[in-house]
Structures are given as C-alpha cells and as structure tokens.
Subunit: 165 residues, 2 copies
C-alpha cells in the first residue's frame, strides 16, 4: 500500500512546523499539537524559522549615505532578537506537551526556500504552517509562502488559517 513508507500515528514521525512572527503560525502550531501529534508520544516536532536576510537597502539610509557599522550591527541584532523571540515562544507552547520531542532550526533566507529545503533535509513526514505568514508586501510580490510549499515540498503540507474572531 502507498502508506507503507509512512509511519503510523505515534511511531516516531518528524513533524515540521514553520514559525514566524505572525500569530497565525502559533495557531498552526497549537492546532498541530492538539490534532496531529500523537498523544501517546514518539513524534518529533521540528520548529523551522526563516530569519530574513539583511535587505539590500539596509546598506544605505534614506539619504543615500552609507550606514555606519554600528547601525548595521543594530539592524542585525534586531533581526536576531525577533528570530529568538519567535522560536522561544514556539518552544514555550510546546513545553505544555512534554510527550513531544522538540528540535529547532533557524536559517537565513527566503522563507519559501528555507522551509522547503528544511523539510527535504530533515525528511519531514509532514509540514505544518499558517496560510498568510511573512507579510502582505512579500506575498503580493512573491506569492504566498504556503502556496509555494504546498506545490514544492514533497511531504504532505497542512495549512492552518487563523480562526475568525
């Protein structure tokens, strides 16, 4: 049967969850913990986060002057702090589910590539993500990250939307 290669519930699956600074990705993580992860234990949750690469225009300020190395370092520090906060919050959510082993993976780059590459590299059995991560502007120009992953990742992709209040 086609499912022979897929571990059955609780038999040590690697479930990857893409986390970003939007609350939708936290909702996706919660949904996955409540509905997909085996309550009997044995699954590994891999939290993957794409840290934005330093944008090109960051090398100059708005007046066209080169930014000082202090300012560049500050931009970099801010990006790192955001990444750390995102991953810490996701780990905190997972801490309520002690039967799940948690790993984290942070890479710089376009989230579409980071997430698909991570899913392939870690041989994920499932990729879970929100539908609208990574901002309106990026989505308008580059298309939805979740659409890209649903089309390009080899593993099953679960797209979870933010519930309407």
């Amino acid at each position: 049967m086609e499912t022979a290669a897929v571990a059955s519930s609780g038999a040590g699956r690697r479930i990857m969850v893409a986390v970003d600074e939007g609350e939708e990705s936290l909702h996706a993580l919660n949904w996955c913990l409540a509905n997909v992860v085996s309550p009997a234990g044995g699954d590994t949750l891999v939290l993957v986060h794409a840290r934005r690469p330093r944008p090109v225009y960051a090398a100059m300020d708005s007046a066209g002057y080169m930014m000082t190395s202090d300012l560049l370092a500050s931009v970099e520090r801010h990006a790192n702090a955001v990444s750390a906060a995102v991953v810490d919050e996701a780990k905190r959510v997972c801490a309520d589910h002690p039967h799940v082993k948690v790993e984290t993976m942070v890479e710089s780059g376009d989230p579409r590539d980071v997430i698909c590459d991570a899913a392939a590299k870690m041989a994920a059995d499932l990729l879970v993500m929100g539908s609208h991560g990574y901002g309106f502007i990026q989505r308008a120009f580059l298309g939805s990250v979740s659409n890209h992953c649903a089309q390009n990742c080899k593993c099953p992709v679960l797209i979870v939307k933010r519930p309407k209040e």
Copy 2:
C-alpha cells in the same frame, strides 16, 4: 487559547476527505487514516466527491447534430458509474478502519466550489486532499483545486502528494 474551538484528538472531529478518480486522492485518504484519524475512535470521516456536471458540448455530437436522448442518458450513466466507483473504493479503504465513522457526500459541480461549500456546510475541522486532482487540462485553465481550497476554505487544509516511486 485559539485551539479551544478545535476538538482535540479523538474527540469527535469531522475530517473531510476529497476523493476523485486519481490515485493521489486515495493516497491522501490512506495518509489521513494512518496519521490524522484518532486510533482511539470518535472521529467522523466525510468523503466528498464532486461529480462533473454534464459538459455543454455533450448536447451535440462532433457533426453538430443533437445527441439522441439515449446517448445523453448513456453519458450521464457513465458519469454516475465513475462517481459510484470512486466513492465505493474510498469506502472500501475506510472499511479497514472500523473505529472511524464514515459519511459520503456527492454533489455535481466545479470541484473547487463543491469541496469548499461542503467543508463549510459540514463544519469540517479539517479538509484533506491530493494536490493534483481533477486533471491536467482543468488545472491549466482553472488553477489547482488544492490551491483554491487552501486559500478559500476556512478550516485547515492538508495537501498530500503522491509519493514518487
């Protein structure tokens, strides 16, 4: 918490699986049974199938003559037979999982509308589908059914690809 409205594993979730004549949708169904449906029972699986509406050109044959009512009836019979076979096969797969309650739902129409409407009407907690159902031609003109559902259904959408041999 956002997950409060979502039943936890095994607590009577309604999981909708879109089935068509492609083997990818059978794989999606199998993956769902092995990885999402609670082994403890309590979940309901709703098999939804979109029967193709009779195409407009079916009212005339290639020479432009009106088709006889016999021929129209035969086209209709064939479509019904295909639908019945798809649903029967999916039910047969589910029969190996007696802890799951199975319902079926067959509607005529564009699969994108049929599936999204069904998920809303049945208040599905999750929609599961293959990524490439409903044929190359339709996809080229209308876009992927799974992309449409991932963007437009309110519930989480799990897209399962056919494994590469």
